[in-house]
Symmetry: C2
Subunit: 268 residues, 2 copies
């Protein structure tokens, strides 16, 4: 009675509060019927109020985790999240290349929803040089587009130029997340590989409890790639999943509560 599931890996930070980071990724992988694994790059002491401490994992131990997982169990698709420092990014990039992980979703995390810096200054350059060229899909928000490319997006009309600037850094596809734009009714994201361009719309939500949104979207794209969907369909399916998770956000803690990864079962 043994069976296998598609194998999905997160390479990211840990959020003790369970709403973001590898916790959000593992919950997403589980809900989307994939087998979740994790390479932890840094630990945060975190809750709905913010990030209260960061413990970086030694780079050689990140390599040990990645080799253990990829060398034995195997990886159908992976995502990266908070990678903390240039030294950590180097070993992650080396490992992804060494194990030939082709379906790689890169969420170029720079800061938490509260504005707490989650990576060192040297990490921005390392993300550009080492990780984005390995990405099948990069998923920057507007702040990350600005940090990575200098392009400031002020309205939906600026999204194509932003996407082009990110594509120039090497990912095969980019999903620019326009969710924070002030002038749009729906949450519009732009997905493009330079030839095919798709607008991905989700209901814009006034939800208060959105912690983990970015992690969950990237993890859901990776899960759907592990399940065999093509990039456009995987992004559409992931957007639908995260939109529901935001709509059913959980009023936990005193700050920004987490999205509900189990919303399809709790509130179908």
């Amino acid at each position: 009675m043994s069976a296998v599931l598609p194998r999905a890996l997160t390479i990211a930070g840990s959020d003790s509060g369970g709403g973001a980071g590898i916790q959000a990724d593992l919950k997403t992988f589980t809900e989307l019927d994939t087998f979740g694994m994790s390479v932890i790059v840094a630990l945060t002491a975190q809750n709905t109020l913010g990030v209260h401490g960061v413990h970086e994992v030694p780079p050689e131990f990140v390599t040990a985790q990645l080799d253990a997982v990829a060398g034995d169990i195997g990886v159908d698709a992976a995502k990266t999240g908070m990678l903390a420092s240039a030294a950590l990014i180097d070993v992650v990039a080396d490992g992804v290349a060494r194990h030939g992980i082709a379906r790689l979703v890169v969420d170029p995390v720079c800061a938490s929803k509260h504005g707490d810096a989650l990576v060192r200054p040297d990490a921005i350059d390392a993300l550009k040089r080492r990780i984005l060229p390995l990405a099948e899909v990069a998923t920057p928000n507007l702040g990350e587009v600005a940090a990575l490319t200098g392009v400031q997006v002020r309205g939906a009309d600026d999204l194509p130029a932003a996407a082009e600037a990110v594509l120039a850094l090497g990912p095969r596809w980019v999903l620019v997340k326009g969710g924070h734009l002030p002038d749009v009714v729906d949450a519009v994201d732009l997905l493009t590989d330079g030839s095919t361009t798709v607008e991905v719309r989700g209901e814009r939500s006034a939800a208060a409890h959105t912690h983990g949104t970015g992690c969950t979207l990237a993890a859901a794209i990776a899960a759907h790639r592990a399940l065999g969907l093509d990039v456009v369909d995987a992004v559409r399916a992931a957007k639908e999943y995260v939109t529901g998770a935001i709509r059913h956000g959980l009023a936990l803690g005193g700050g920004i509560g987490p999205v509900d990864h189990g919303w399809r079962r709790h509130s179908p």
Copy 2:
């Protein structure tokens, strides 16, 4: 449209391979409709073949994670797993007591399924002195009973004495897991608080892929306690869940594959 879920916390080690440790616990919490959080005490580089490295988290960072979670989000029930060292056990015990976490399931992990030591020698004494007196339910297997009490269980007749010896260390309930006994047809576990005693039977399985069984059982007890079941019902429900997860174990990797946490959805 905000809602809350019961809050379940794991305090344990991380298994990069996703089958055991906080990964198994978070998957279990998710499948059982609770909100999962984690305090990571140690990282392992691990796969289905064994444990290839351990990175212990600094004790003060374990405290930081526990305070962040318990002080903001709150904890309806918790479980402990691999606690690695006496110094780590001390800060976990201090934090559990400080935050008044009453529904605590203690899986007194000493070694992995492959026999790799997962705690330092000084941890056994610290488990006895600091953690077991805080436990609502302790879930030792026969090897852990021997390590904690010196009692050797050679057949089902020895289970009551083993349970009594563990109860003397302070937990309110003990579940002695007899699954490795050679002379029984079913997997019989003995649950007792010294006055009420219940045999908990699960179909004994020849399944090859059992990685994460102990973590999953303890996490499922904690989840059902968070959901409001009493101890006896929580243990029965958890045993049923883990028995199914073992029966549907996943043939992943070259060694002992993980149980399937999503078996009720995959193979109901």
